[in-house]
Symmetry: C2
Subunit: 361 residues, 2 copies
């Protein structure tokens, strides 16, 4: 496998994005219109489209702008949504997902975007792209709405159990992500815990917090945060293990769904309430836009030697275009180069601290 690209070097001459056209509930009928939208936003994009040519060609024929900047690569196989990651890894060597990832590893593309099976995508991306040197475990990150704009949380499910060093690496990657994608100059970072007091929580989060206090981050270490701090937007970057992060994210999604359901029932509960909704309709349109899941589409696999973004499988063209946007931001900001730099700085400082500690009688 050749050296994976970290993207920054190709920023001047336009970007090439490898697309898994077969991922997501609707495959090429969603992926290609999404790519067309992204192309309108970023005129220097090029696409390598992997998938079933007989399904891709008719969709592409209707989209001249996209057709002009795309190459289609026919792939015989597809990774199904219910394929186990291990099976996909062994049997999916000819799949659209795998060949799109290979394109990044081979230097043909700057990044890959897929709306397919998350577990399979993570397994393949880890296998093909490998981890950045100094990152023990890649993580899944995503951003979400808060009372104070947008924040990012990681890990969201790639690593069920984490050690303190994993969490420190997540903190570094999260800060660089918040700079690159959210535009925060000095992102604040919090470690998710069950109490703001330093005494609470398990040994892993306490140890991680101690390391983050010792060594300056690319951002600013805030300390511990609790579950309610996630939607409050207390910090720009929430660091946690994949089990807790996944539960927190899905609990937030479920709570939003519950509140929306209650709101609907409220407006349907009387004629007056229904009239009230009609009057407030325009305002509610804006509210829906604010919480629109398409705005927060895109789970990033951070820590791999290549940019890989997972779109929600059930999203539409606009949501998929947003996932492409995130990939473009990460490549343009040289995300992986920054991570390598900051990891280097971190290990130097850590070893200085250890030496100093060893030197003390």
């Amino acid at each position: 496998m050749s050296e994976a690209r970290t993207g920054a070097g190709t920023a001047k001459s336009g970007l090439t994005i490898a697309l898994d056209a077969m991922g997501g509930d609707r495959g090429p009928e969603m992926v290609l219109p999404g790519a067309q939208l992204a192309r309108v936003r970023h005129p220097d994009l090029k696409f390598l489209i992997f998938g079933d040519e007989s399904r891709i060609r008719p969709v592409l024929a209707k989209r001249k702008l996209l057709a002009e900047c795309s190459q289609v690569r026919h792939t015989p196989d597809v990774v199904a949504n219910d394929d186990k990651p291990s099976v996909a890894l062994r049997q999916g060597r000819g799949s659209s997902m795998r060949l799109a990832i290979n394109a990044v590893a081979d230097g043909e593309a700057d990044c890959v975007v897929s709306a397919g099976n998350t577990g399979a995508l993570m397994a393949m991306a880890k296998f093909v792209l490998k981890s950045i040197q100094g990152i023990d475990r890649p993580a899944i990150a995503s951003f979400f709405p808060t009372q104070r704009g947008e924040s990012v949380m990681l890990d969201l499910g790639a690593n069920v159990e984490c050690d303190p060093e994993n969490l420190v690496q997540f903190a570094i990657m999260g800060s660089i992500f918040a700079r690159a994608v959210l535009g925060r100059a000095e992102p604040s970072v919090g470690v998710l815990n069950i109490g703001a007091e330093a005494l609470k929580g398990n040994e892993v989060v306490k140890d991680a917090a101690n390391r983050l206090r010792e060594v300056p981050l690319p951002g600013r270490f805030h300390g511990f945060v609790e579950g309610n701090d996630i939607p409050a937007g207390t910090v720009d970057v929430v660091v946690t293990d994949g089990f807790t992060g996944n539960v927190a994210l899905k609990t937030a999604e479920g709570t939003a769904a519950l509140m929306n359901e209650w709101l609907k029932r409220t407006f349907r509960s009387s004629i007056f309430a229904g009239l009230g909704y009609l009057l407030a309709r325009n305002a509610f349109r804006k509210l829906r836009q604010r919480g629109d899941p398409r705005r927060y589409n895109g789970a990033m696999f951070l820590g791999l030697r290549g940019i890989c973004v997972k779109s929600h499988g059930g999203t539409d063209a606009r949501g998929f275009a947003n996932a492409i946007d995130v990939a473009v931001d990460l490549v343009r900001h040289g995300f992986n180069d920054r991570v390598v730099e900051e990891l280097g700085r971190y290990s130097e400082l850590r070893s200085e601290i250890s030496q100093a500690a060893a030197g003390t009688p």
Copy 2:
């Protein structure tokens, strides 16, 4: 320390509730009006009120109904909200909280309700009341609103790390709780995980699920649930470790706060939206009642040889009365006796299974 009462035996002749009058942000000014409300609902209640007599007497003087069924026990000390549990345990022997718990251990009261420092209350209750035989670790449980009525979740923070057997014990206690307080005849129980598939998750949840599949519960074992299933109400009882449960509960609270803030801004964003709100005002009053945190007030310490309910410190009289209601339900349904019974049944079945397994060549 004498045998703690499990409550069921005293149901016929009225209930005695030990109150920590000094707990919560407002102390007796909130606790006593709450007790008065509870007394109106349950005419057979009696109260033992622990706290600073000079603050209790004036409030009681204005409440004849409550005064008639109450005894005041003056206590010199108070556990502060920021006292560490270990310090409260050592130095708070004369506190209202400690003496109220002692009243349950001594058989003077059927249960204790406090709005004070959660950590201190848990530490003291564990020390004084001890665990039910067969329960390795007491848990904190609470109920919450869902798309399908109310559900209960435990643990919410008493045990940062749990083994499979702890989770099985939580499942048993949670089912009995759902019967006693939520009135579910055959409660469904789910173990919180990051994927519904049996392969995902850590070893602890997988092992717990296997044990719950093997041995019939007082309720019905549903299998794994994810974060979004909590507010969806997929199951009546959500079982998890204290770290994950605490994060999930607080994330849900924070998300509800975020949505409420967005809703407020929506109605304030234009004159039409404001008029719409006026028309829908009555419907929104009902919506607020549905999500009213006072309705879900009361965190139960399950697994102790004595009923102990923690009210939110910032609640009002109505919220505190609801916490008393929960304590009354638990005592009336003989909660602890049911737990002892079901634990006995469970260990018998487990040992039969082990013997059968050992007998197989």
